[in-house]
């Protein structure tokens, strides 16, 4: 059963299995284990980024294709839900319509970019995606009548997913283990389950015959041609699929935030974050996305606090509090990144699998 859910791709290392199990339990029970607006928000962000990074890994780690347009596809899904909810009125139908339309548009755009550029050389694809992504980002900020420009769009999700919606008053007196049973809790589980289904779906794809062909193409596209595979078709198919999943991740994120804007879903910064998460976790393994996204989002959200605390603890010592000043958290994030690449060139998952 578990084997089948994981598509036969088990962690193959005890520490890795424990780590993944721990992350799964923490995310599944996040609202109960770590109650608080900020912690639950971080957990939801982790869920969304796991899917986003996993879909990017399908492209980079399995297909060997470098793309800079992944946040664009992410944004298309997010704006899809926002626009549908704005114009169709709040409701699950608007979310479903926006998500499906966003995924289809993302896949169609990926198809066009792919057919134009993957025929030539994979490096050409990277440059085209960079250009298209920048163009779309400019477009979104200029078309402020439709997209809200730099301010973005705030929209309403169904009442059932908002904090004002209360349930379980009779049975549980409105709380469970001290956590208020409200729409925000439901929204978290909407995001969590959506992310879980998408992730397991991706795991299935990379372990299918199609996934094996992608690996073959990454390893040696010249020989893949010579044993009869139309390499371009597989690359384009992977690009479309990856774009559609990224768009769906964007939709989940929009539902959670009830807001979309260039900073949350389109910026180049997110693109770089995705790249870092893939590399830290380990390319070419879906579990790398889980570990990379979790560590990175946690560091982004809590490294600053941690350093602030450390600076206070060491305030009596010379120099150290200066180095550990909370304002320098980005510097330390960079150092951590360099160290992780140096010590785990195959990512954390690659390292754990080899030692285990």
């Amino acid at each position: 059963m578990i084997r089948s859910l994981l598509s036969g791709d088990t962690p193959r290392s005890l520490p890795l299995a424990l780590l993944l199990g721990g992350i799964l339990i923490c995310l599944a029970l996040a609202p109960f284990l770590f109650p608080g607006v900020r912690t639950v928000d971080t957990a939801a962000r982790i869920c969304v980024f796991i899917v986003l990074v996993a879909s990017y890994d399908l492209l980079l780690g399995y297909g060997g294709i470098v793309s800079f347009a992944h946040t664009m596809f992410f944004g298309i899904g997010a704006y899809g839900v926002a626009l549908a909810s704005t114009h169709m009125g709040r409701g699950f139908d608007a979310i479903a319509f926006g998500a499906v339309a966003g995924a289809l548009l993302a896949a169609a755009l990926a198809l066009v970019i792919g057919l134009f550029s993957l025929r030539v050389r994979a490096i050409f694809f990277a440059m085209i995606t960079l250009a298209v992504a920048s163009a779309v980002a400019v477009l979104v900020s200029q078309l402020s009548g439709l997209t809200g420009g730099e301010d973005g769009l705030t929209f309403k999700t169904p009442r059932e997913l908002g904090p004002a919606f209360k349930f379980g008053k009779e049975a549980f007196d409105g709380t469970l283990f001290g956590v208020k049973l409200n729409g925000k809790l439901l929204a978290y589980y909407f995001v969590f389950l959506g992310a879980l289904v998408l992730f397991l779906g991706l795991l299935r794809v990379v372990n299918s015959p199609f996934g094996r062909v992608l690996q073959a193409i990454r390893e040696n596209d010249f020989r893949a041609e010579a044993i009869g595979y139309r390499v371009v078709y597989y690359r384009v198919a992977a690009t479309c699929l990856s774009a559609a999943i990224a768009a769906l991740a964007g939709s989940l994120y929009a539902v959670w935030l009830r807001y979309v804007g260039p900073d949350t879903s389109l910026s180049m910064e997110i693109m770089i974050d995705i790249l870092l998460m893939v590399v830290i976790g380990g390319m070419g393994t879906m579990y790398g996305a889980v570990i990379g996204a979790t560590l990175f989002v946690l560091a982004q959200n809590y490294l600053q606090n941690l350093m602030g605390a450390a600076a206070e603890l060491t305030s009596a010592l010379p120099l150290l509090p200066e180095l550990l000043n909370a304002d320098r958290w980005l510097l330390w994030l960079g150092v951590l990144f360099i160290l992780s690449v140096y010590f785990f060139p195959t990512g954390i998952v690659g390292r754990l699998r080899n030692s285990g």
Partner: protein, 259 residues
């Protein structure tokens, strides 16, 4: 030979800048025939192969497979049409297992490669076919090893295994035993002989070792400076004046002994 050829090249030519690497080679290859292609290094043997299997576009001339002009087709389309190739420099999927390498070829032929949803382990028949081929090349025990960890000789065997898994109408071997040890080479040569004994496959073999050519070849063609210098039964070609002249009186064996 009266039967229509499976593969033929007509004035096949390629120029790199001013250098003519393959010069108007016209040649027919029939089913069940093993043709050895010989010539000194730089004579254009591998380039001739590249023109047939499509890695390099021809500057002039045409290639026919079963009467059909395949000159405009891509490498993968030619492969699906029936031209299979084993490479001179080992050319595998280095970070995948031995079994996975062969299974990819079997899968390519099965038409199931756009299946995104079933697990690979559900396609037991593909694994069985791949393992049967690995048994033939004596690599079954190493099937779970990663290719990059395989010895050179075993990589050469796997190179041949991929071609056998493809089972094309035209087999092209480019120095299949290069760099193999004396006790490993016979495995590959026996396989080629088996294929030849099937009598329905067209086999092209680039080879330097004279004893191999003597035992296996039905016919020899000699390439010299990209041009076809001789073509005929082994004994005849080795004794021919053209060849003697082309190699400045040293004879074919003398030249081949150098390389």
């Amino acid at each position: 030979m009266t039967t229509s050829p499976i593969l033929s090249t007509e004035n096949l030519t390629v120029r790199f800048g001013g250098h003519v690497a393959v010069d108007a080679v016209t040649c027919d290859f029939s089913a069940g025939e093993l043709t050895a292609i010989v010539g000194p290094n730089g004579a254009g043997k591998t380039t001739y192969f590249n023109l047939i299997s499509g890695q390099i576009p021809a500057s002039a001339g045409r290639v026919f497979l079963k009467g059909r002009d395949i000159g405009g087709m891509s490498v993968s389309a030619r492969t699906r049409a029936g031209i299979g190739r084993a490479f001179q420099l080992t050319n595998l999927f280095p970070n995948l297992s031995v079994l996975e390498n062969v299974r990819l070829v079997v899968q390519a032929k099965s038409g199931r490669s756009f299946n995104l949803w079933s697990m690979v382990s559900r396609h037991q028949d593909l694994t069985d076919q791949a393992e049967a081929i690995l048994r033939r090349v004596r690599l079954l025990e190493q099937r779970h090893q990663v290719v990059s960890e395989l010895s050179h000789g075993n990589q050469r065997k796997l190179e041949v295994a991929l071609l056998i898994a493809l089972d094309p109408a035209v087999y092209m071997f480019d120095e299949p035993t290069a760099g193999m040890s004396v006790d490993e080479a016979p495995v590959v040569l026996d396989l080629i002989e088996e294929l030849k004994d099937q009598r329905d496959r067209t086999i092209l073999l680039v080879e330097h070792k004279m004893d191999v050519i003597r035992t296996l070849a039905d016919r020899i063609i000699v390439l010299h400076n990209g041009a076809l210098a001789a073509d005929g039964p082994p004994a005849e070609v080795m004794a021919s004046d053209v060849v003697q002249e082309a190699y400045m009186g040293r004879g074919l064996e003398g030249v081949l002994a150098d390389v």
